[in-house]
Amino acid sequence: MKQFIAFIKKEFHHIFRDTWTMVILLLLPILMLILFGYALSTEIKSVNIAIYDPSKDSLSEEIIRKLESSEYFNIIRMLDSPFQIEEEFQAGNTGMVLVFCENFYKNTLSKGDAQIQLLTDGSDPNTAVTITNYASGIIKSVMRKSFASNPDAIRVNIITKLIYNPEMKSAYNFVPGVMGMVIMLICAMMTSISIAREKETGTMEILLASPMKPLLIILSKAVPYFFLSCINLLTILLFSVFLLKVPIAGSLIALLTVSLVYIFVSLAIGLLISSITSSQLVALLLSGMALMMPAIYLSGMIFPIENMPRGLQIVAQIIPAKWYIVAARNIMIKGLGFSSILKEFAVLSGMALILITISFKKFKLRLE
């Protein structure tokens, strides 16, 4: 145990004395968050919109007036028929088309099934979401004012529909994505590089010739990065809650639990990489190419998995980040309970178990 502690202390010395390691550990997660955060929340002004309004009654016209007078929208065309909608999008200068149902005001009053459709161009999902939010906000406020005396009468349905990318699953949820990436980066890449470094400098040989047990050597490598990942996890969560205002809708405990399992998976991958390579450069390339690229592109963080070709969808299933991001989203964004992520939890635990077993076996073989 004393050996173990002395060893962990040494690992921390390595980490704290290397400027670049510190930069990656502390600044990178925050940098990524800010980058993704601001890429997402850019304010949108003067979006060109077109309107198809077959009812032309007082309420629909009030809504149109309000939209026109807001700084967000420019009404560039009033459409005469629903067939012009597609045309309008293909021309490419319209960001949203607003469609009222027939007899809008009358339906609102009597049947309560008045409808407004907000059609947006989903090929740019971030903008699409932002402008639908603005538009529905304006519509709701008009409705509230018009029916101030009788709020129960407001039964308008605002249907938002994304054309071209109806799923739109990835855009909101960059925070789980960044967590998935950062944890993988820190655990897998940093652990594998730090073990490869010892092999490169020859200190590993000295350690192996010492009474230090091999298992203890790699465990003490993993422990500091485990701690640092936990700290990073907390920083990301604090940042996203207080700075980016992304709430943690579900249970914090469930989120932390699944994150811990994911950290174990990442550590195991790092150990596995370090057992098959003996140079820092190869470890870097392996974890960069073989881990980070799929974690970014195939995990559903940026591109929805549902929209991928079948082959890539299958590949995506073996990427730990994919399962983690799904689970983190369910809890953080959708606010679902632990029961909703049982499958993801089971898959990640299985991966952790298998990977840890393999990497310990591999490490022993390398001693020969």
């Binding site: 050996q3 002395a6 060893f7 040494k10 010395h13 004395r17 040989e205 000295i206 010739a209 001693l367």
Partner: protein, 245 residues
């Protein structure tokens, strides 16, 4: 008292026989030079004796322990210094000593007093909080050796310990080796420098995985009718089939 015995020790990797039935025994306090060209099998032989690799054939005992089944005990009783300088460059002199002393299970209080004594002896007292990467190579090697024997092992393996340093520094390094041997620590050293071979009590020369000669430097010179160890080595190495890497 013998510290190392090896009998018909053999290591094969697939079809390749790296070490081919070598036998020798080394007494306590002896300085044993283990010579051979690159690729002759020195490192493979040494790794078996350190408990880092299991022999394919033959028997061997190090510090009284079996090299097949008691590698853990062997590791506790030996020191090891590899050919690459291998202390942690980003730790200070003191931290390195502490770390390795801790790995070998020395008590904290003892570490503190012995560290001071060692630093005093090496004249490193003023550099005790310097990062090792800032030390000159000769100093690093002296420190590396001192760390390898800090836990007073029964024997120490030195794998080409003096690569890349000037003769004067090598000379100082050998003074440390003699000092250790006088305290009863057996020294098993591989080297490329034939002048160093002269400093050893006995020398073995490996060619193509076999030990072709084993005796004191003086007897070897007589046996091979040469006036230097270099001549002896050249005569034997010329017969090698394997190419060094």
């Amino acid at each position: 008292m013998t510290v190392i015995t090896a009998e018909n020790l053999t290591k094969r990797f697939g079809d390749f026989t790296a070490v081919n039935h070598i036998s020798f025994s080394i007494k306590r306090g002896e300085i044993f030079g283990f010579l051979g060209a690159n690729g002759a099998g020195k490192t493979s032989a040494m790794r078996m004796l350190c408990g880092l690799s299991i022999p394919t054939e033959g028997t061997g005992h190090v510090a009284g322990f079996d090299i097949y089944s008691q590698t853990e005990q062997i590791k506790k009783n030996i020191g090891y210094m590899s050919q690459r300088f291998s202390l942690y460059e980003d730790l200070t002199v003191k931290e390195n000593i502490r770390l390795f002393a801790g790995i070998y299970g020395i008590k904290s209080r003892e570490i503190a007093s012995r560290t001071d004594a060692l630093l005093q002896k090496l004249g490193f007292m003023s550099e005790r909080n310097t990062l090792v990467q800032r030390l000159p190579l000769g100093w690093k090697q002296k420190l590396s050796f001192s760390v390898a024997i800090f836990h007073e092992p029964k024997l120490v393996f030195l794998d080409e310990p003096t690569g890349g340093v000037d003769p004067a520094t090598r000379r100082q390094f050998w003074e440390l080796i003699y000092d250790a041997a006088e305290r009863g620590i057996t020294v098993f050293v591989t080297t490329h420098y034939m002048d160093e071979a002269e400093y050893c009590n006995r020398v073995s020369i490996m060619v193509d995985g076999r030990i072709e000669a084993l005796d004191s430097p003086r007897n070897l010179r007589e046996q091979f009718h040469s006036n230097s160890m270099d001549g002896v080595f050249q005569t034997l190495a010329r017969a090698a089939v394997r190419k060094g890497d």
